[in-house]
């Protein structure tokens, strides 16, 4: 039992790049649309994908949860979205920030950029910036779309419109390359958001996942769910030799031995790979503080 758990944990940690690639392709399955300059318009778009993935990406398989949330609360018909909030809780409980580490296309994009040789900086001293993302969630995703409305009660998706770099990367850029009319429509807003994208591209070269750490409202939601998620990090105290390698390996600045379910932990498993005694592993199921619980299923 224990052996198997460790094998799965090691596998996930070592093949994370693959899983991210597959997740990105599954999230954007309609690849030919890039050449057509069209977006997919089937019923699958009723359902949200777990990661931050613009639904105006030509290839997008489903809806962006953050975009969809703003669309619902910004519509004249609804002031709250049970549908998307339920989705957030569901994914939050089932996976938590595992989504960030394994499934989110924009997270993968930043990681790939970070592989490019460039002067790297630690974010250990910038921990206070982490709280920005909760502000972004509250203000740009919830309050502004809800409160700033026209005479018909229609709001704007403020986060999508003014902040989200994923929309430019996946939506505006490929569509304007393939479609002349869209190219003609590019204006000030595009310049502003392109600037944001470029900023995060450059920041990603220097820092590990700057957008995830500081800005991403979806990451903020999943962060709040980390503590109640089925998926948790487990440190075996009998095996741990307190060498501190895991803490140094963690690019999200988390000390896994002290806070195995920290809000910033994206379950990337770098600590699992680094641990010399294989004391850290993933655990999936109800409860999960002790390994001998009966409901340890679903691994």
């Amino acid at each position: 039992m224990d052996k198997k758990k460790h094998k799965i944990s090691q596998f996930l940690a070592h093949f994370r790049g693959w899983i991210q690639a597959v997740a990105t392709i599954l999230t954007n399955i309609h690849l030919p649309n890039f050449f057509k300059g069209e977006i997919y318009r089937g019923d699958a778009k009723t359902v949200c994908v777990p990661g931050l993935n613009c639904y105006s990406c030509p290839a997008a398989t489903g809806a962006c949860p953050i975009g969809a949330f703003q669309a619902v609360i910004g519509s004249s018909k609804f002031k709250f979205s049970y549908y998307i909030t339920g989705f957030f809780i569901l994914i939050g409980v089932l996976l938590g920030r595992f989504v960030c580490g394994f499934l989110c296309p924009f997270g993968w994009f930043q990681e790939l950029l970070h592989k490019i040789p460039f002067k790297k900086f630690s974010t250990k001293k910038l921990k206070s910036l982490r709280y920005i993302k909760y502000g972004v969630l509250l203000i740009f995703v919830i309050l502004l779309p809800l409160l700033v409305t026209n005479s018909l009660g229609m709001g704007n998706p403020f986060f999508c419109k003014y902040l989200c770099p994923q929309g430019v990367l996946e939506g505006a850029i490929p569509l304007s390359i393939a479609n002349a009319s869209i190219r003609a429509a590019l204006g000030k807003l595009f310049t502003w958001k392109f600037g944001i994208l470029i900023t995060f591209v450059i920041l990603s070269l220097m820092f590990y996942r700057p957008f995830c750490k500081w800005i991403c409202p979806l990451g903020a939601i999943y962060a709040l769910c980390n503590k109640v998620s089925f998926l948790q990090m487990k440190v075996d105290e009998d095996k741990c030799v307190s060498c501190g390698k895991c803490e140094r390996a963690c690019k999200m600045d988390v000390d896994v031995t002290k806070h195995p379910n920290h809000t910033e932990c994206i379950r990337c498993g770098m600590c699992i790979k680094e641990c010399p005694t294989e004391a850290i592993h993933y655990q999936y199921g109800f409860g999960t503080d002790k390994t001998n619980l009966k409901e340890n299923k679903g691994e």
Binding site: G17, L112, N150, L152
Partner: protein
């Protein structure tokens, strides 16, 4: 890891290309409902044959028919193609029958009857031919004529394409109820409609929530239009009609296109609100261009 990434990208490309192949196949099966080239050629040959027969009948009494043709008022000529050509000849003949002897008249009338019969055969074939031709046109990418339509406005009154030909220029605006930039520009479009009225133009809205007479969509659209003070015509199209398909194929909202009197789409579609300076300038340029051309 880098190798893995590269391999994955290649896999993605292959997947993309194979998916491309699939969609191309679908298009092929879609066009199979149209006529094959062989069928189209047979149809052309048959039409030719019947037309030849008609001509040879007229040829037999050439001198007499010349008289009839000379008497025909030029302005009625376009009726000749719209109705049964035999009927047209009979009418024309009737008007000047006192110029012929009884015998002459009798033989001419016999000719007319024969031609009528041929026409009955010919007419459906011609329709088939033109339907096939227009199918081909609309199937082409970037067809630049807005399809003819029969639709209702949001109050349930019948509207058809003649509304386009009555105006030198028509600005078609595609929108839907939940689209805030679309709703935002409605007052601007109404103002444009008022301005265009004087110049022989109009604005028409096409609301994609009101397709197929969707009652909820229409009711919501009407209340939005009223609140935004937009008084110009808005249409509810049938989603299976050619025009309806054009509307449902639109991906970005709002989209605005400009038509001339003949339904030709002039210039590139304008995506995004026309309440933006640049788009408005582009729109007015296209409108002026069409108005100038219409005067000539």
């Amino acid at each position: 890891m880098k190798k893995l990434t590269v391999m994955l990208l290649i896999a993605a490309m292959v997947l993309g290309v194979s998916a491309c192949g699939n969609s191309a196949n679908k298009e092929n099966t879609a066009t199979e409902s149209q006529m094959s080239t062989q069928e189209a050629e047979d149809l052309d040959a048959k039409i030719n044959e019947l037309t030849q027969k008609e001509n040879s009948i007229l040829e037999n009494h050439k001198a007499l028919w010349e008289k009839v043709f000379n008497s025909i008022d030029k302005s009625t000529v376009k009726d000749a193609t719209a109705t049964n050509y035999g009927d047209f000849l009979a009418n024309s003949l009737d008007k000047i029958k006192d110029k012929f002897t009884d015998d002459e008249l009798k033989s001419l009338k016999e000719d007319v009857e024969e031609i009528k019969k041929l026409e009955d055969e010919l007419q459906p074939l011609l329709e088939k031919q033109s339907a096939n031709a227009s199918n081909k046109d609309s199937g082409k990418e970037g067809a630049s004529v807005f399809p003819e339509f029969k639709a209702k406005d949001l109050d349930g009154n019948d509207v058809d394409s003649s509304i386009i030909s009555k105006n030198a220029v028509t600005v078609l605006n595609f929108w839907f109820n939940g689209c805030s930039p679309c709703v935002q520009e409605l007052p601007e479009l109404n103002k444009l409609n008022e301005e265009l009225k004087e110049k022989g133009g109009q604005v028409i809205g096409i609301n994609t929530d009101s397709l197929d007479g969707n009652e909820d969509g229409i009711a919501e659209a009407k209340s939005i239009l009223e609140k935004q003070g937009a008084k110009y015509t808005n249409l509810s199209l049938d989603s299976n009609s050619e025009a309806g398909k054009y509307a449902t194929s639109i991906m970005a909202f709002p989209t605005t296109i400009v038509l001339d009197r003949n339904g030709n789409i002039i210039g590139e579609p304008i995506m995004g609100g026309i309440d933006n300076d640049e788009s408005y300038k582009q729109l007015m340029k296209t409108i002026d261009q069409i108005l100038a051309a219409d005067k000539n």
